[in-house]
């Protein structure tokens, strides 16, 4: 059953060396929990971005917490390139596993369905097939004779995301952000931070239930108000573009990044 704990306890559920899956900016990124993870000294993460990331991945990389990175892109969007990602690529600070968005979803889907691999359309001709030795091109075993790309299952040790609300049974409202369910189905453990815990059961009523990730898939919940800041949370609050631009500028240098990170961690402690 789902446990509802403090943010620090939630952060303690992630241990060094685990694979950690995180969603795309705006879908529900657990930024406050990321600060708590860094505070707790998380390291050697195998980070899996579903299917891309921005500030969250850049912070984890800059803090030296990432051993390998599987993603289709890392970018700060309007604020430009992700500086610590770019620097880390140059210094080979982590093992890079370049992917393409639907291949990451396909890997998660294979895990969701308990099969070792998933076929996927397209991709043939891309150099990604050269650098991803775990992907294969096979002859389709069925139907018209043609080549098809197959990718291995992705079963993250931990999924971590942020959502507006959960109920006391551990059901989490995800609305139409079903990528969050895809994450949870495939992962061994799912950690969720929420803006608030509500008293009514989210599974009551057809409309409400349709947008719910059931507690069966949710291991641990903690409350973190404005827990996606400075990123957007659906239409609950917009991204703090100024803050992200400030990060983009400061993180261009290692020293600037350190200063930003320190302030970011302090900010979390003050909010908590």
């Amino acid at each position: 059953m789902t446990e509802i704990v403090t943010l620090e306890s939630l952060a303690a559920r992630v241990t060094p060396g685990q694979s950690l899956a995180i969603p795309v900016d705006g879908s529900g990124v657990a930024m406050t929990a990321t600060a708590a993870l860094l505070e707790a000294g998380v390291r050697d993460l195998k980070l899996i971005c579903v299917p891309i990331s921005g500030l969250q991945a850049d912070l984890l990389i800059g803090a030296g917490a990432v051993a390998s990175l599987e993603t289709s892109a890392v970018s700060l969007g309007e604020a430009g390139a992700a500086p610590r990602f770019t620097a880390g690529i140059k210094s080979r600070a982590f093992t890079m596993r370049d992917s393409t968005c639907p291949a990451i979803y396909a890997g998660l889907l294979a895990a969701q369905k308990g099969v070792p691999f998933m076929p996927i359309a397209g991709i043939i001709g891309s150099d990604l097939l050269n650098v991803r030795s775990d992907w294969q091109v096979i002859d389709s075993p069925i139907g018209e004779a043609r080549k098809v790309v197959v990718v291995p299952a992705i079963s993250p040790d931990v999924a971590l995301f942020h959502a507006p609300e959960a109920d006391r049974d551990g059901n989490v409202r995800i609305g139409r952000h079903r990528e969050l369910a895809d994450l949870a189905y495939a992962s061994k453990r799912t950690l969720v931070t929420v803006e608030r815990i509500i008293d009514r059961n989210l599974l009551d009523g057809e409309d409400s239930a349709a947008g719910v990730l059931p507690s069966l898939y949710v291991d641990t919940i903690a409350v973190a108000e404005r827990g996606a800041w400075p990123l957007a949370l659906w239409d609950e609050y917009p991204a703090d573009e100024a803050e992200i631009a400030r990060y983009a500028a400061m993180a261009r240098s290692e020293d600037g990044f350190r200063a930003y990170l320190s302030a970011f961690l302090t900010h979390r402690r003050q909010v908590a």
């Binding site: 705006g26 892109a73 309007e78 140059k90 370049d98 968005c101 639907p102 043939i124 891309s126």
Partner: protein
């Protein structure tokens, strides 16, 4: 600023023309010019009583009718329900291959870009992919990309998708899937065919007489500066404001 606005208006109107006939176009996040082009086509079709156009703008609430999460755009393309999409590239070569990863030896690239996003997949599945890259320079348009994020031609597998055209700040190229390369269709004023040759690192077909890209007519400009920039403001407030202020 007026020249900048005019440049953008030509791009937007050209995109609307390139999209003519489609039913559903998807536009990536942070793509105000492609989005405006799609909105212009939609408005024009509506006024002319032509079939409606559906626009999906990734990351926009108002311009999304997806309800199955991040995978839905990709599934939708695989089902043949997406007619057009836009791709860019840190490098684009004369065979239409695009590089969104970086220059130099992988993985420790000299210049590293964000990554391939969905390009390796969508290039195979969307019939009318418009390559849109404003910077027109030899460092972008190279003979051969350093890393193929997505390949334009793969005769070894059947595919419905691939490049349709390449639009830059200076010119419009058609992609010839038979020949496997680009052909210059028109040059935006004030540029000349010589400017294009000088700034393009790959070989392409050039007709004897190169047309000038038409400027939008008065009706199109009125639609654009009124309704379209208003519609655009919901998703791209800063861009729409700039365009309106310049008017």
């Amino acid at each position: 600023m007026s020249a900048e606005r005019e440049r953008r208006e030509i791009l937007i109107a050209t995109i609307a023309d390139l999209l003519d006939g489609i039913r559903h176009v998807a536009v990536g996040a942070s793509s105000p010019i492609p989005a405006a082009g799609a909105m212009l086509l939609r408005a024009r079709n509506e006024l002319r009583g032509k079939p409606p156009v559906r626009i999906s703008i990734l990351g926009s609430r108002a311009h999304s009718f997806f309800t199955n999460g991040g995978i839905e755009l990709f599934d939708c393309a695989a089902q043949g329900r997406v007619d057009a999409f836009f791709l860019g590239g840190g490098q684009i070569d004369g065979e239409g291959n695009i590089n969104l990863v970086g220059t130099g030896d992988y993985p420790a690239s000299q210049v590293r870009w964000p990554g391939s996003f969905g390009s390796a997949y969508l290039y195979h599945l969307v019939p009318r992919v418009i390559l849109f890259r404003e910077e027109h320079s030899p460092r972008v348009f190279v003979p051969k990309v350093d890393f193929v994020s997505a390949r334009a031609m793969t005769p070894e597998v059947p595919r419905r998708g691939g490049p349709h055209a390449l639009l830059t700040n200076m010119a419009l190229f058609d992609f010839d899937r038979e020949a496997g390369g680009f052909a210059l269709r028109s040059v935006h004023p004030p540029f000349t065919p010589a400017d294009i040759r000088e700034n393009t690192g790959f070989a392409y077909q050039e007709p004897d007489v190169v047309r000038e890209t038409p400027r939008p007519d008065a009706a199109t400009l009125a639609l654009l500066r009124g309704r379209i920039f208003d519609e655009l403001a919901e998703t791209y407030p800063a861009f729409a404001r700039t365009m309106k202020q310049a008017a």
